[in-house]
Subunit: 333 residues, 2 copies
DNA sequence: TTGTAGGCGTTATCAC
DNA sequence: GTGATAACGCCTACAA
């Protein structure tokens, strides 16, 4: 069932059928109705591949993220998909894991499918060594590249992010102002935003004349229970702290488990601040004070930016939102 | 840059170029190398739309789910995408929400994009009133339909599910055998698997000669805190229970919050069993005993079933796995 | 307002 | 082993 069959059945040319389908210019109401009724009768649907071939687009955006089951990234995917669909775009999802080689491979693959743009969720895509970002620059030569919570300077690259530096700076400052000085900063990785968060911690400590100790800046990746074990080990090794600020809610949940295991009471003896304000922050006990970095806002903005890029509007290459801190029960302020 | 440009530069015909690209039949090693080097030089990538038009496939599967930010569904999406990609298929994600009209609309939309198959995650797509499932039967006339945790009988419809009935039956029986008789069953919806779970509860109670009270079968949808409020209200209204079995981990987390609020100790005074064994089960305190309904297994099986359908292998229309109960700290057994 | 014809870039079927 | 050439189904100048 194609446009020829319809044209034959309706007694018009394929051009007219096409015009009706695309609601385009001047077609007599009468012929239009005729065609529509035939289309209805035969249950005809235009072939998206043929259309794609001609128009060189299938209205599809590639969404890449390391791991769609991470609650924070899952949220982002949800909002992005919703916004894109509202603009008549489909989303091809691609979970890359955290390896550079796989990211490169999958980004190429996505481009070979001729997506109209690519959205990279999370700063894990930006490598510290800039020459490893070549795959992103390469992509930007073909389609617009949208970075969510990452930043890279380049033509056709647009980034929307949250001010992670300031967020951690504020969180740490709040703790210090409430009289807590021994603050451990626990993080997953030194991705683009990972570095900004760490710098926020450093700056806040320094600004308040507190010594920056290596032992207070700990990187760890593992399950919730492995992370708990890591903290127990730290304590055994004599590292003392009255607060833990983390780069991710799951690390903060681990911190709560750690406190439980040691009979340390929260927040009187230990304050904890998470990051992302994900569902995990509400599941734990006590409920977690967490930085809300505005995923929904970021996603809405990203898609809106992309649509404006498609329209050739003048679009800023970088947009930044400030974060909020959602106070719950793991802090005293 | 298309196949003509390459053929010209390599001094061969487009047919030969095509053969080289697709690694197909007899091409001299020499001409093959010649073509490959030209392709390399020009950085040529075949046009996926044109290929799609000819082959009538772009190796793409539509994945539908009500809400990709739900931790359980997010897991499923992750595993499905991974398995599909291993089989050289892309995934178009489509979050439909819970409204029938939207599900219908989006399923049609997906089909109009000419996906090779559709995977529906979760039993929310199966309507109790079978005539409302017409949209699924319609879809199955065009492409294979894979149901994950749902069941519908029909040609070209394949379902992979977890034995929810037995899982709840076993969970409730375990409680009863440990001496607990006042068991509240709390659930979100009466979807296909929702009904099976409820029936599992009923059967277990009946099998142990316990009265089936309406007040012990409660349906509620809301946030974690709203659900906590609902349980508090139930208690105020005089409903007494020593255990809460839920259809979803988030409900179980709410139950924990409820117990906390009433100073009821877990599990000595109140046992709680969740469902899905999602990340939430490990975040809460005490950690949640939860039914593991094997998402990863379900996803692997679903994709493998689909691939066999594509090969025209003989494939069973229905596959069912049994669930496990993961014992943590909210139960005494 | 409507129709004709060419182009989009492949793959596949023939001949040679 | 390789090369013409016809689909695949749509959109869109251009012509009528």
């Amino acid at each position: 069932m194609n446009i020829y069959d319809i044209s034959k059945a309706a007694g018009v040319s394929i051009a007219t059928v096409s015009r009706v389908i695309n609601g385009s210019s001047s077609v007599t109401e009468k012929t239009k109705q005729k065609v529509l009724s035939v289309i209805e009768e035969y249950g005809y649907t235009p072939n998206a591949f043929a259309r794609g071939l001609g128009l060189n687009t299938m209205q599809t955006i590639g969404i890449m993220c390391p791991d769609s089951s991470d609650p924070y990234l899952a949220d982002a995917i949800y909002y992005l998909e919703r916004e894109l669909r509202q603009n008549n775009y489909d989303s091809i999802l691609c979970c890359t894991g955290y390896q550079l080689s796989t990211k490169e491979k999958y980004l190429k693959l996505l481009l070979s499918k001729r997506v109209d743009a690519v959205i990279l969720i999370g700063s894990n895509f930006i490598e510290a060594n800039d020459k490893n970002n070549k795959y992103i620059y390469d992509a930007s030569k073909e389609v617009p590249v949208i970075l969510l919570n990452g930043y890279l300077e380049g033509a056709n690259i647009y980034s929307t992010s949250c001010d992670d530096y300031q967020a951690v700076y504020d969180a740490v400052s709040s703790l210090i102002n409430s009289g807590i000085h021994k603050i451990l900063y626990l993080f997953h990785s030194l991705s683009y935003s990972g570095i900004k968060k760490l710098n926020g911690y450093k700056a806040a400590m320094t600004a308040h004349n507190l010594e920056l100790k290596e032992e207070y800046m700990q990187q760890f990746s593992g399950t919730i229970h492995e992370t708990k074990g890591f903290l127990l080990k730290l304590r055994e090794d004599g590292v003392e702290f009255d607060a833990i600020v983390t780069s991710d809610d799951s690390l903060a949940v681990s911190a709560i488990k750690y406190a439980k295991a040691c009979n340390i009471s929260i927040p009187s003896q230990l304050s904890i601040i998470g990051y992302n304000n994900s569902i995990m922050a509400e599941c734990c006990e006590p409920e977690l004070t967490s930085v809300d970095n505005k995923v929904e806002t970021l996603c809405i903005q990203s898609v809106s930016t992309l649509m404006r890029v498609f329209e050739n509007s003048n679009v800023p290459a970088k947009t930044m939102f400030s974060a909020d801190i959602v106070k719950r029960a793991t802090t005293r302020f």
